[in-house]
């Protein structure tokens, strides 16, 4: 009788260890994929001062737009919760789109080699951010599902593994956001 009980307890413990390890692996994956987003956000932030510098030389009237871009840039890199960073990043994506839309009105700027290169780099980075966000959200979904299903939820609640936050997706993914600067 005692032997059976011992086997039972050992079995439960083993399963517990297995589930715990699974949680840890998934959590590490979420953290890793977040770092991927972070790398791309930093990359974009590094390009922005150059872009503003180049555009400033031609479009002198867009001072407010420049101020807004610079302010948002600081927000995306200063850290904070997933929600704060993702919201700031989404707004910045929209404002950058407007910046490129404004640039359309300046033929000299559009002919500038430096500007063209920055434009390709930024749009490349924007799409990398989108891919990194998709990967991150997939890993979060995997992790969150695991923390919610039985019996992993018991292990998760004992060790304090809480659900992770999704990276918010812009409301109008495909549409150019309308940002007014009047």
């Amino acid at each position: 009788m005692f032997g059976y009980l011992l086997f039972f307890v050992l079995g439960v413990l083993l399963i517990g260890v297995f589930l715990y390890n699974r949680l840890v692996v998934l959590r590490v994956r979420v953290d890793n994929s977040w770092r991927q987003i972070d790398v791309q956000l930093k990359r974009r932030a590094d390009m922005i001062p150059n872009l503003v510098e180049v555009v400033k030389g031609y479009a002198t009237h867009e001072r407010e737009l420049f101020a807004k871009v610079t302010e948002l840039r600081a927000k995306t890199t200063s850290g904070g919760s997933v929600k704060e960073v993702s919201d700031a990043s989404n707004v910045l994506s929209g404002v950058l789109k407007s910046l490129f839309a404004v640039a359309e009105a300046y033929p000299d700027l559009k002919a500038n080699q430096n500007f063209l290169m920055l434009q390709e780099e930024l749009s490349g980075t924007e799409s990398k951010i989108a891919f990194a966000r998709q990967f991150y959200n997939d890993t979060v979904m995997n992790y969150n599902t695991t923390t919610h299903v039985f019996p992993t939820n018991l292990v998760a609640s004992i060790f304090g593994y809480k659900a992770a936050e999704f990276f918010s997706i812009p409301e109008e993914e495909k549409e150019v956001p309308r940002v007014s600067f009047s």
Binding site: M117, G124, K128, F135
Partner: protein, 297 residues
């Protein structure tokens, strides 16, 4: 069908096919053992030799493929666009960015190589870059990255090893039975029937194995297509790319038949695109049909 169930189905079918290959080899070996009292020696020797012969082409798969096709490393300055697209899709797939190569060839095509995600490379032809827009290119690159992520090079090598092993087995046994025929004559008749069945199986096995191997190759193409859709979340990009590849089809200058299965579309197919038992790729039409049938994740 939903995307995830399509992917699961493709994986299961290719695993079943590989299992059949193992079954065939073990089955033939069994008949020979019972009939000829070889006790698995021939099966083991053949498998060992086949593994030995394939080891080089597996370990150096990337170098061999890249040098045969005359691919050159794409510089970041010249192919910014290609590099950005590749890095983006690699992020979505959660693997390190593969090395990027271009092949100076007007025939639009692409392939992936390398035995694991850390040592992988993808190569695209200049003809491909010329005709595809960004979303189509991302679809094609996602297809190639899917081959890497699904370890298709490893699977193709395993399939090749199994085919090779059966061929070696056939050669050893046929040679032995000619030489040893006088010595063996007069032995008990019960085993002779089994041995003859084994021999017939052995002679037919390489053909069956080749057919299964090609079926696996076609299955992995379907799998890479659906994984590509999962990565880009936009199957229509790959559909349009495949349509364009079909439209601008022309034979590639530098490639070999042995590499045909690695490309996104068969580099040698001309004329009508038919799918048969001996093709390495499913027909473009059926691939497009499957991509279009995806309903939700």
């Amino acid at each position: 069908m939903s995307l995830s169930s399509q992917i699961r189905q493709n994986v299961i079918i290719s695993l079943i096919l590989i299992f059949f290959m193992f079954l065939l080899i073990v089955g033939v070996g069994y008949f020979l053992d019972v009939g000829g009292e070889f006790h698995g020696v021939i099966t083991t020797i053949s498998l060992g030799m086949a593994i030995f012969f394939s080891l080089g082409s597996y370990l150096y798969s990337d170098k061999i493929a890249l040098s045969i096709t005359g691919a050159r490393e794409a510089s970041y300055e010249e192919f910014r666009y290609l590099h950005n697209a590749t890095e983006g899709v690699a992020i979505a797939a959660g693997i390190p960015k593969p090395r990027v190569y271009v092949i100076d060839d007007l025939s639009p095509n692409a392939f992936a190589t390398g035995r694991d995600p850390k040592r992988s490379a993808i190569a695209v032809t200049t003809g491909l870059l010329k005709i595809l827009d960004r979303q189509e290119l991302e679809g094609v690159i996602a297809h190639e990255i899917s081959h890497i992520r699904n370890y298709d090079i490893l699977l193709a090598t395993i399939a090749a090893v199994l085919v090779g092993a059966v061929v070696i087995m056939r050669d050893i046994v046929l040679r032995m039975s000619f030489r040893g025929s006088s010595r063996r004559r007069g032995k008990g008749g019960g085993n002779a029937v089994v041995l003859i069945v084994g021999l017939i199986l052995l002679i037919l096995a390489p053909i069956f194995m080749t057919l299964i191997r090609l079926a696996i190759s076609r299955q992995r193409e379907f799998l890479a297509d659906s994984t590509s859709a999962l990565l880009t979340r936009y199957p229509e990009g790959l559909v349009q790319a495949l349509e364009k590849l079909e439209e601008h089809k022309q034979p590639m200058r530098s490639s070999t038949e042995a590499m045909a299965h690695m490309f996104i579309v068969n580099p040698f197919s001309k004329g009508i695109d038919l799918e048969g038992l001996f093709s390495t790729h499913p027909s473009i039409a059926s691939r497009i049909l499957r991509l279009r049938s995806i309903r939700g994740l």
